[in-house]
Amino acid sequence: MKIVLITACLAGVAQSKMAAVAIKKEVEARGFEISIEEQGGHKVTVRLSQEQIDTADVVIVAKAITISGRDRFRNKKVFETEVNKALRDPKGTVDKALEVINQK
């Protein structure tokens, strides 16, 4: 299972980072692969490669602001949530993202 995670918060200093760490821990505990992109006002975004996105089973978007580069995963299964929710409940977030994969 491959998961792509995009986190985005106001400044790109606190929540996006912490949510990324929380989700990463949860995903790796389940033995899945994850690639992460963090976005925010004071941050140079390291972009995920199109290949990473194309091979992923699901894209998790945990955001407080509109993310940039949305058109990169036009045909993917996307689970959207708030960055705060992802940070407080990484387990539930990953569960819900896995549900999205099973939806037709």
Binding site: L10, A11, V13, A14, M18, G41, H42, A64, I65
Partner: protein, 348 residues
């Protein structure tokens, strides 16, 4: 999707659009505030060298408003809305409705741009319509702003501005208490973001006390809860103590509220009561002594841009100690079963 459903989505996500604007606006305040603060050292000098700092400071503190409008519009209707949003933002400033005018103008022009692109146009003309359409959305919202919503917003801005400027010591202290209560209640959630956005927006009114207050209590929740684990180790689990030991330096360096979440999450009610108390204490002290900060930075850079560093350290310590004592007091009244929690943690 139908037009009605898409419109509904836009208005449902208004918070996201607003925060996107703020996210792109913060770097301007930072660059402007940073250079403006450095320019203070060359106040007496008339040389070109110091003038560069001064001018960058003025530009940053002036144009953060149109940039915010531009990116609120961008969040609603994507790239074509940036230019209309920017123009509407500057128009709002020039017609005195300032930050509020730019905010509502940005929302309106974003939505208007979204609408004009929905107009059905023969295939042949579509690419030229793409270039012309934002002209119409800009014009429409410009007239609405100047003749309809601008004047009441300008009056409101003026009233708020003169009110903030007229606040004395006790007024500032109660403002600090209210802001502290909001900032300490949800560790970087909607309430504290609302409060910190107000603080940055107030910079448009040339008042820097709200930002000073915010900056003073932003690290109170994490530092307070961390200090509490040092005072009474027996109230905390191994995991919590380990987290506290590893994160206090980081809190001082990076300086944001969210670091408190792992410590607060396992005992949210008692922790929140304590952090609200601590932030109220810090906020009211900082307000009483009119602590000002000229640039919205966090962590170590903050220390150099306060007008009264002593007030900062004093109010911060008072709040941190209050939080630590309060949370330990609350925990001593009703104890958690530490052994049981530690066992659960091991099983996970």
């Amino acid at each position: 999707m139908s037009l009605g459903k898409e419109s509904k989505d836009i208005f449902k996500n208004m918070g996201v659009h607003f925060r996107t604007g703020v996210s792109y606006m913060l770097p301007l305040l930072l660059i402007g505030g940073f250079c403006g603060s450095i320019a203070v050292f060359g106040k007496a000098s008339d040389s070109e060298f110091w003038k560069v700092f001064r001018i960058i400071g003025e530009i940053g503190l002036k144009y953060f408003v149109p940039i915010m409008a531009a990116y609120v519009a961008y969040s609603i209707a994507d790239t074509p809305a940036i230019a209309p949003g920017f123009i509407i933002g500057i128009l709002a400033q020039q017609t005195d409705s300032g930050y509020l005018g730019a905010l509502f103008g940005g929302i309106l022009v974003g939505y208007a741009t979204f609408l004009v692109f929905k107009i059905k146009i023969p295939e042949m003309l579509q690419s030229s319509w793409g270039m012309i359409a934002p002209v119409f959305s800009t014009l429409a919202v410009a007239f609405i702003l100047v003749f309809l919503i601008g004047p009441p917003l300008a009056w409101l801005m003026d009233t708020i501005g003169s009110y903030l400027h007229s606040l004395g010591k006790s007024g500032n202290a109660s403002m600090g208490a209210i802001m502290g209560a909001l900032g300490g209640i949800d560790y970087g959630g909607p309430f504290s973001k609302t409060q910190s956005t107000f603080a940055t927006a107030a910079m448009d009114l040339k008042t820097f006390v709200p930002l000073g207050i915010t900056a003073a209590f932003v690290t109170v929740p994490p530092l307070g809860l961390i200090l509490a684990t040092f005072f009474k180790p027996k109230f905390y689990t191994k995991k919590e103590k380990m987290y506290a030991k590893s994160s206090w330096v980081y809190t001082l360096i990076a300086g944001f509220t969210e670091i408190a979440i792992p410590l607060a999450a396992s005992d949210i009610v008692r922790s929140t009561i304590a952090t609200v108390l601590g932030c109220v204490v810090t906020g009211s002290i900082a307000g009483f002594f009119s602590l000002e900060l000229y640039t919205p930075v966090l962590g170590i850079p903050q220390w150099f841009f306060f007008n009264k560093p002593l007030v900062y350290w004093g109010s911060l310590s008072a709040g941190v100690i209050t939080t630590a004592l309060a949370v330990n007091f609350l925990k001593s009244i009703s104890k958690r079963d530490i052994e049981k929690i530690e066992k659960q943690e091991e099983n996970v």
